[in-house]
Symmetry: C2
Subunit: 151 residues, 2 copies
Amino acid sequence: MIGKTNFPFVKEGTELYASRLKHYVRFDIQELSDVKAGKNMPSDELKKKEAEQFLKKIPSDAFVILLDENGKQYQSRQFALEIEKWMIQTSKDIIFVVGGAFGFAPAMYERAQLKISLSSMTFSHQLIRLIFVEQLYRAFSIINQEPYHND
Amino acid sequence: MIGKTNFPFVKEGTELYASRLKHYVRFDIQELSDVKAGKNMPSDELKKKEAEQFLKKIPSDAFVILLDENGKQYQSRQFALEIEKWMIQTSKDIIFVVGGAFGFAPAMYERAQLKISLSSMTFSHQLIRLIFVEQLYRAFSIINQEPYHND
């Protein structure tokens, strides 16, 4: 993800679900520095600089999934099945990328294997990290047949 | 909403967005007590008891909208337009109801004017209150043409 969170509650919530998730799978969050953008930097330029940051960090053999408003939407149980499939498809790291406030530059769409969307609604990109980690935890609780998820 | 949140970060985040939202509109969150359910209470029975709690609290002339997995999904900008419409449709309170972990009893569907859904995914009903208040704040920032929301 790009940008450090400003909100202690986001950090706290994200850490809670991340620590639960780690019971199931190797998991790590990497926060990249915000691009230093003047107020007048056009959003395309900003996204391009963010993409450079991301691409420097992403290993060339990683399986890359963007959290994108035009991505595919899943029910939680379907999402868990997809994760199992992705883990079979690749023996490499699976990287979920949360972009900045304006979305992704074309270079990110070219690099990514997949786009997924959490909702038709736009959520704060601060909140997305929290919502998404809970959803990953939920998926692994489903995969491991734990009683966390109720249909 | 039913049930007090166990998580300080949910409370903190919800309060942050609620305080911002109150710049735009009269807004109030009411947390009803959890139904005391033994471990063996069937979920239908639990939902029925939760419905009784809700219906006791909801004024008979209120406009009631359930947050329900089978509800209508909106983009944030559409959701803002709908809220404006609902506010014209009724001069009474608009009440959004967040149910318990198992959803709603039939009595709640009978009472409600509408069902909306935040996502195809299931989110923790703890997190939903936070996500939803941010979305309400976003909607009112759109209605008031503030720069919070980026398409």
